[in-house]
Symmetry: D2
Subunit: 370 residues, 4 copies
């Protein structure tokens, strides 16, 4: 409806001419606190404005949702993928897991998995146990998973325990680590032996896909997983996650189950327009790539100053072991996340970059690290 020229002009007017909002400069404090501290990518905002007054029907039935789904199908190289937009990570995990499990089933996950620890018990609140298996830097191991499932099914009393009905992995994990294609394939094979779906939590998926260290692509994820989501909230959107069922396996009446959990947005356009924009001209990939470039610089800053890394993360979250004294000093100038105690004098901290991290931010950080 609008030509590209007008759109560009338009964005120029909004963002460039007015000279605002292009940087965090002038804001209260430098922040690497997390990857959801800023709003949305400017193209998303522009698109929301352009489509704003168009009357559209509700609950995800509008044309922008359709268009976004079509683009995601193409990005996944999966024509028959079914897609549903939800608002945030915990909500998505709860809706997906509870809609795919039978009431007597639980979901197997790393003991450090987001669903295990940081969702206020949302999975259990929906009636399902999170069955923890060991996490290794956030990842589960196919052999350990297989052994766990074998033991379960061999137990004569298995009917008195929670059935493992799904496997949950996050990619990138909560520790920024990534599965290789071989690992993903092995886990998928175990799942298929036990006829249970593999669910990949991609809250930070873009940052995983754009890591220089990965051989995992979106089509491969669609190939190996039974359901996964493409995170928007942490990758350029105001809110929103795109759940993908690549195998014609969306549970019937998923919309109603989402609504029942308060997860159906009246103005579904808000999610449709955002994902339509993210999957236009590779925006999702490009902004993720930028975040990774910024993360590599952050890494180099700390490495250059001989700080130790807690984990060798190839994505946008960097975990560094700092002296408690240094932390106290740094906190005055930059926000970051306190991860966990390392020893009496040291603590693990997390510095996260995102689509919104600017070169200036990184240089400002560099100046702070002695």
């Amino acid at each position: 409806m609008y030509t590209e020229i007008i759109m560009d002009l338009y964005r120029a007017l909004i963002f460039d001419k007015l000279g605002i909002n292009h940087q965090t400069e002038g804001y209260e404090m430098l922040s690497f606190e997390s990857d959801y501290i800023q709003g949305a990518h400017e193209k998303i905002l522009s698109r929301l404005i352009e489509t704003n007054m168009e009357p559209l029907s509700g609950y995800g039935s509008d044309k922008y949702c359709e268009s976004a789904k079509e683009k995601i199908r193409r990005a996944c190289d999966c024509e028959e993928a079914e897609i549903f937009f939800l608002m945030g990570g915990t909500q998505t995990n709860q809706v997906v897991i509870s809609s795919m499990l039978q009431s007597y089933e639980g979901v197997a996950a790393a003991h450090t998995g987001h669903v295990s620890v940081h969702e206020a018990g949302a999975i259990e609140h929906s009636g399902h146990k999170v069955l923890t298996i060991p996490g290794h830097e956030g990842k589960i191991d196919a052999d350990e998973l297989s052994a766990y499932l074998k033991t379960y099914w061999e137990d004569v009393n298995y009917e008195h325990m929670v059935f493992p009905g799904m496997v949950y992995i996050s990619h990138p994990t909560e520790y920024g680590t990534l599965y290789t294609e071989a690992e993903l394939s092995s886990i998928a094979k175990v799942c298929s032996v036990y006829h249970i779906p593999l669910f990949l939590d991609g809250a930070r998926l873009g940052y995983g896909l754009m890591s220089p260290k990965t051989d995992v692509t979106l089509p491969k994820i669609a190939h190996y997983c039974d359901v996964f989501y493409i995170g928007g909230t942490k990758v350029g959107a105001l809110c929103g996650e795109a759940v993908v069922f690549p195998k014609k396996n969306m549970p019937p009446h998923f919309l109603t189950m989402a609504k029942q959990k308060g997860a159906l947005l009246a103005k579904g356009r808000l999610l449709g327009v955002q994902f339509d924009t993210l999957f236009t001209d590779d925006l999702y990939y490009r902004i993720s790539e930028h975040a990774i470039a910024m993360a590599e610089k952050v890494k180099e800053i700390f490495r250059g100053k001989n700080r130790r890394f807690f984990i060798n993360s190839p994505t946008n979250q960097q975990f560094i072991i700092l002296e408690n004294k240094e932390i106290e000093d740094l906190k005055k100038y930059v926000k970051f996340d306190i991860w966990e105690k390392y020893d009496e004098n040291h603590t693990v901290v997390r510095f996260a970059t995102s689509w919104a991290t600017s070169e200036e931010d990184v240089e400002n950080l560099r100046a702070l690290i002695q």
Copy 2:
């Protein structure tokens, strides 16, 4: 941070200079389908853009949420009100009701109440029965409520039934009708006799407050109710409802209970900025007033053409009895909602106006009604 002058210039640039988005003109079809068919008020969009790159902490702990809460407190004339932002109506009803009820309690509501009928069983999904009492054009009657509660508590077997633990009303109701202050006061009195909270669903609250026919104000609602919400989704926002606990009675750990239900937004700013804008310079009232003015014109159009009204609604939803043949014709040119069968040849339809309805929309509608 930005002066009003810059802001105005800014909005002028975005909306006026580019000459777009100010009207629905050019869109596929005239629509009175509902009050959530357009995006957000331009001031909200502007404000989202202005604050977009500012790094803010998550989950509603940012300064815009704080500012919005403070403004709402003032609008409610209730300094000690506690406020929480959620994303949509069904979610809000579910989170509020389930967090305030004991597990053995249900919520009493009109049989036509939104929670009774149109939320896919979200309340029951959270474990609580909706105890229906008669609705009269969407409203419940204090005497009938009282009789219902009296009967319940006099039953020797009351412990074997669901305890009525809350009263739910909507204002405006699903039929566009409004409680008078006297009615609200009577219902509140009954609730207080039985020590149960009164919850007012204000998904369309602005349209109720700005009706010329009402004597109910926001401070009065804060006075009579134990909890209520100020609807954003249907009144100018992209999404969002502001839950108000006016009596220092927000359930402890409400945030965690919201998160457990997937209702806690990572970028809480999205809700904070919107409500902060809606409650700046009376925007919420002004845009609601506009919707009411448009609704009055719609009413006048149909009345002028001798169409019958199903309900005499003083708010933004108008219920008209049309011949089925006319409906078929009209549907080619304008979208509206089919409400219910009236008789063999007639059907009740709903025309909804909103903050986004333009004079042109109404005039276009006028031209269609013969």
Copy 3:
């Protein structure tokens, strides 16, 4: 293992020789309060004693459970019926309904149905709405049911409402009334058109089957219903209901779903032995028949004294309209249930007989009614 001779001698010793427990005589007050005021039929007690020390494996895997199931299959004339024993009515309704419904489905029931009113919200507690349709003396009407389902599925917004996923009826109903075979067949037909199961709550099933007014038999129930239960608690057992799935349609892992709800008894033998006894030598039918004979006498007593009946009940529950003054007097000598207010001066009361009601009880009652 024990010959009939020893068993008879044994029972003679226990019950007859000692001359106790054969009647309610000597107990504090004559009681027609309900059909669960006494323990269990003496044959059940004898059988529990005989099998008491036999080591049996738990959770319903013992031979008495197997034998009981086999006998019930024969009584239902349904070789492939799957049977599961649970402990009480509310538990059974909750476990059956929640295990057969999808999360987005509710159960349609008469507004007077036990699940609608008298189970403390157990169905909603398990996440499912009870969708009430009109009850006529406790019964639902096939045409009204059909109209309800038609309206639901024709609604364009049906996905935003609770799907009707099952139909619940009680037989006898809470008012003692019975469906005819024709009525049962019509309701089953409607269910089959909409592909939803028909569930019959037979908490008092024996009393329905033995009514002189019925043309419904156990095999017919197994034919028309998709699931039903044969009540034990109210028909001679200490506790226990036998759930029957006549169409190879027991939900997979029903045992685990029962256990999850705390409904799996460790000593499953307690239920197996009881139902095995009830379905030996037609005990279930014979004791039910006795209760009906006693109810007919009660009826005749009140009719003979020109008392009005609230409902013409053909089963063990009799609903009589008495003057409030008479109620006050009677209450000193006999227990009965206050049902509901009839008018200012009259109240509906219920007199229930059971397998345990003796001729003496009835004669004692006769003496009280002037």
Copy 4:
């Protein structure tokens, strides 16, 4: 109502004169499979028969329930204890835990705890996470519990995790081990520091109380715990657990919450009579003592034959490490429980005694162990 003389005569008639049911002799196989393989103690059966025809009101409101509660209060040396009878262990754990927790709270338990592993997810099904902490031979450690709670509350993100709202211990544990009074006191102290209740699962409580190795008594449990239950199912009853709230802290409307979970028995007398009998003349203690004596003999049998013990259990469950070959042989003559793999050639097995284990059973076992 009946004199002791008649009662004794009566039992003599039932059990002794008829010469049946006093032993497992003649049954298919010697069994140490579990402590719930036989029915109920003969005194319980006698008492059920004696009270059988007495008309009693339902749902636990009868005089036998009252009497049982009074006797339990005395046994606990706790006059103000509130008591509620439920039917089985999983049900009791679910009802107690879910009724005492807020929706945002979970229960901390040993990773080997019954609620963690063997209840088919009943706790999660009721919406609450089981927060596992290390189990040491089934027991939790007060210091580890304290450290866990401290870490939780110091986490800045604690509101995004499940609140530890209760501590669950079993006594005896699933491994037959017992807490000392000092340990119990330490755990109780930690709970009190964090203001969370301590819940003791006493499914096998009698066997713990009668262990020669314990310094924990029923009054001490009532002193240290906030809620506990006295197991009946495994200690002489057909079914039934007595939940004790010793500190006037029974959650309001506990009966309704039990009913909502299908846990309220219509014929509450079944539980009342059983517990009244168990707490008459110290029956509960005496039969538990017998089981312990039998367990000591079992221990001595295996020790005498130089079998290794997996755990040094002072109660009725004995865990022995046997060669796989020996297990295969033994299985032909005696039932016992396969616990877990020990190494390639050995397996841990469990032999359980109970109130019903006879000297003959033990001697028969002795003959089998070479």
